[in-house]
């Protein structure tokens, strides 16, 4: 418990550091967003108009006053107004994008983690056998592809040519978003299939390899040999004595990838025209939508921190060696 309390304190400090940097970086760069807007009017603004724009973008007063205003607005979940989708508040755009990104990246990570880890367990257990010699090299190869290629190939083949899957959007626009409506959920899954598949295909090999390598190291441990000498069943040794230990480093890696999930699948969402955070970020960078980029960075920071905290908690639950510290 002291261990967890210390971790939580650490993450809180890290969070403050992150929002401080998030505040400082745009201000240290030449040309603040408000200057850009003011410049775009080519001197046709009067004093009070300039002051109003500065105030709207949080550039009023000295640095410390700006910082206090910024921190307050962060805790009110007020990230300013988006310039791209004016006058939509950035916060609502972020949450809209985050929901769809979580659908595809979450599903992809879920399938990649379970299928990849199971393949890794099986490959390590029958090391050098057919399954291992066939799938391990293939999965390494799949892992080496960039998401862009896989996404483009899938999109071209199944959306453009065969027309089995839609050309964009997260769901049928004629349906009202309602997570309790099976028809809506079905439409979401239908639209998510190809994006999920393309992320899955380039990532499950990593889980396969990670699990396989840790498993193989563990297979030579005395406690595994002893479990065999005890005459325990094959499955018990495989899952309870080996995979149980090998999953620990995988959990940490899983938490990290869930954390970065909210970074969005930039390329995949772009290719499939999917309204997730990655696509919004892509647009926002092109349009210099500072408030969106700042908000997105903050969201990413928070999700990485929360994921790390979850991984700490999971490790404490799963690894008795960490308990009681």
């Amino acid at each position: 418990m002291i261990f967890l309390a210390r971790r939580i304190a650490f993450y809180f400090a890290a969070f403050f550091l992150a929002i401080t940097f998030n505040f400082l970086i745009p201000r240290l760069m030449p040309g603040s967003p408000s200057d850009r807007i003011i410049a775009s009017f080519q001197g046709r603004l009067n004093e009070s108009q300039i002051a109003a724009i500065r105030k709207a973008y949080g550039f009023e007063g000295n640095l410390w006053e700006q910082y206090v205003t910024y921190v307050q607005s962060v805790f009110r979940l007020d990230f300013g107004i988006s310039t791209v989708q004016f006058p939509e508040p950035t916060a609502s755009l972020l949450f809209y994008g985050a929901q769809w990104t979580l659908v595809i990246v979450g599903l992809a990570i879920f399938f990649a983690f379970f299928i990849g880890s199971f393949m890794g367990i099986h490959a390590a257990w029958n090391r050098g056998g057919f399954f291992d010699s066939f799938f391990t090299p293939i999965n390494v190869m799949m892992n080496a592809f960039t998401p862009a290629i896989v996404a483009l190939v899938l999109f071209y083949a199944f959306s453009l040519q065969l027309k089995w899957f839609p050309l964009g959007r997260a769901h049928d626009p004629n349906l009202m978003p309602n997570w309790f409506d099976l028809k809506f959920v079905g439409s979401v899954l239908y639209h998510a299939t190809l994006p999920v598949l393309s992320i899955f295909l380039v990532s499950f090999g990593g889980w396969h390899l990670g699990m396989r390598n840790v498993m193989i190291n563990l297979l030579n441990e005395d406690f595994v040999v002893m479990a065999r000498a005890k005459g325990l069943s094959e499955n018990r040794i495989k899952y309870r004595y080996v995979a149980r230990n090998a999953i620990l480093p995988q959990i940490t890696a899983l938490a990290l990838s869930i954390g970065f999930a909210l970074g969005g699948a930039l390329v995949t969402e772009q290719v499939f025209n999917y309204p997730g955070l990655g696509k919004f970020t892509f647009t926002a960078i092109g349009a210099r939508d500072y408030s969106f980029i700042q908000g997105q960075l903050l969201l990413l920071t928070c999700s990485v921190l929360v994921a790390n905290l979850l991984s700490d908690i999971a490790n404490v639950i799963l690894d008795p060696r960490l308990r009681g510290r």
């Binding site: 441990e221 005395d222 406690f223 040999v225 002893m226 479990a227 065999r228 000498a229 005890k230 005459g231 325990l232 069943s233 018990r236 309870r240 004595y241 149980r244 230990n245 620990l248 799963l318 690894d319 008795p320 060696r321």
Partner: protein
């Protein structure tokens, strides 16, 4: 404590390690018996094949290791030919194992209780969870650790306690033979003494046999009834522990004895054995010890001596000097 009834009969046991282009014969056709209630020791330097023999007896040999010949007979049945079902019953119920390093022999993320109970449940399912748990409590009492600590994890115990726990697990099904592969090597001498005394006491009480493997010849002589000395994959001498150092027949046994300091008596200068054992992939035709043997004769380099019983010494030895 030992009777004359033979428990395990090892005949011509041969174990190879198979490489891509080579075969290393780690154990080359060895013969010995382990009697009921006996502590039989296997001595010899690192790499001579002691642990390989132990693993082969427990049917734990895995690739690249390969048992390529011989018999291991238990009540007339060949252990090496057991099918899956018979093997399951043989494991732990008839032969259990205490591993060298108690640090690694227990799974760090499974409670000790489960590691004791699972083996009981696997082999005696009709005992039920309650019965298995009760047995685990008895085992902890037997080795002198409070049963309240049963559900703790291995990192919560000291090295000596962990090795005791391993012994308790080895006793869980009251096996007839316990193979102890360097059970005390990782422990300091005081703890080592406690553990050995406890094993002797348990052995006297429960009457199991022990195959004892260690580098520590002094400890082995104290604990074992008979000792087999291995060199380069062969047994060179098998003799009662009382006479193996006082009346060694094989020059290697003699040399091995000379490299241990006596605890009592006058100080003597220790002698090492010059040279190194032959490579297992490139074994000589004659006696494997000939190159390092101070008494080697021409015949030693041409013909390998067989292990033969010498009644006048109560000892089996493989050496041309004795013929």
């Amino acid at each position: 404590m030992s009777s004359d009834r033979v428990l395990l009969e090892v005949r011509n046991l041969t174990v190879d390690y198979v490489g891509d282009n080579s075969i290393a014969r780690a154990v080359d056709g060895i013969d010995f018996d382990i009697r009921e209630g006996e502590a039989f020791g296997l001595a010899g330097e690192s790499g001579c094949g002691k642990s390989t023999v132990a693993f082969a007896l427990a049917r734990l040999t895995r690739l690249p290791g390969l048992v390529s010949g011989g018999e291991v007979k238990l009540d007339g049945e060949d252990v090496l030919k057991f099918d899956k079902a018979r093997l399951k019953a043989y494991r732990w119920r008839e032969v259990s194992f205490v591993f060298q390093s108690a640090m690694n022999a227990l799974n760090p993320v499974i409670p000790i209780s489960e590691q004791i109970i699972d083996v009981i449940e696997t082999h005696e399912p009709n005992l039920g969870k309650e019965g298995a748990r009760k047995r685990a409590v008895e085992l902890f009492e037997l080795i002198g650790i409070p049963p309240a600590r049963l559900d703790e994890y291995s990192h919560q115990f000291s090295g000596g306690m962990r090795q005791r726990i391993c012994i308790a697990i080895a006793l869980a099904l009251k096996p007839r033979l316990i193979i102890m592969d360097e059970p005390t090597t990782a422990l300091d001498v005081v703890v080592q003494r406690d553990i050995i005394e406890q094993i002797v006491e348990l052995k006297n009480r429960l009457g199991f046999s022990v195959l004892f493997i260690t580098h520590d010849l002094g400890l082995m002589i104290e604990f074992c009834d008979r000792i087999g000395v291995m060199y380069s994959g062969e047994l060179v001498e098998v003799a009662p522990s009382g006479s193996i150092l006082t009346n060694p027949q094989h020059p290697y046994t003699k040399a091995l004895g000379n490299s241990f300091p006596p605890l009592t008596g006058p100080r003597v200068r220790l002698e090492g054995i010059s040279g190194t054992p032959p490579r297992l992939t490139d074994l000589p035709v004659g006696c494997r010890f000939a190159a390092r043997c101070p008494y080697a004769m021409p015949v030693c380099r041409e013909q390998a001596p067989a292990l033969r019983f010498h009644p006048e010494h109560q000892s089996e030895a493989a050496c041309h000097l004795l013929n």
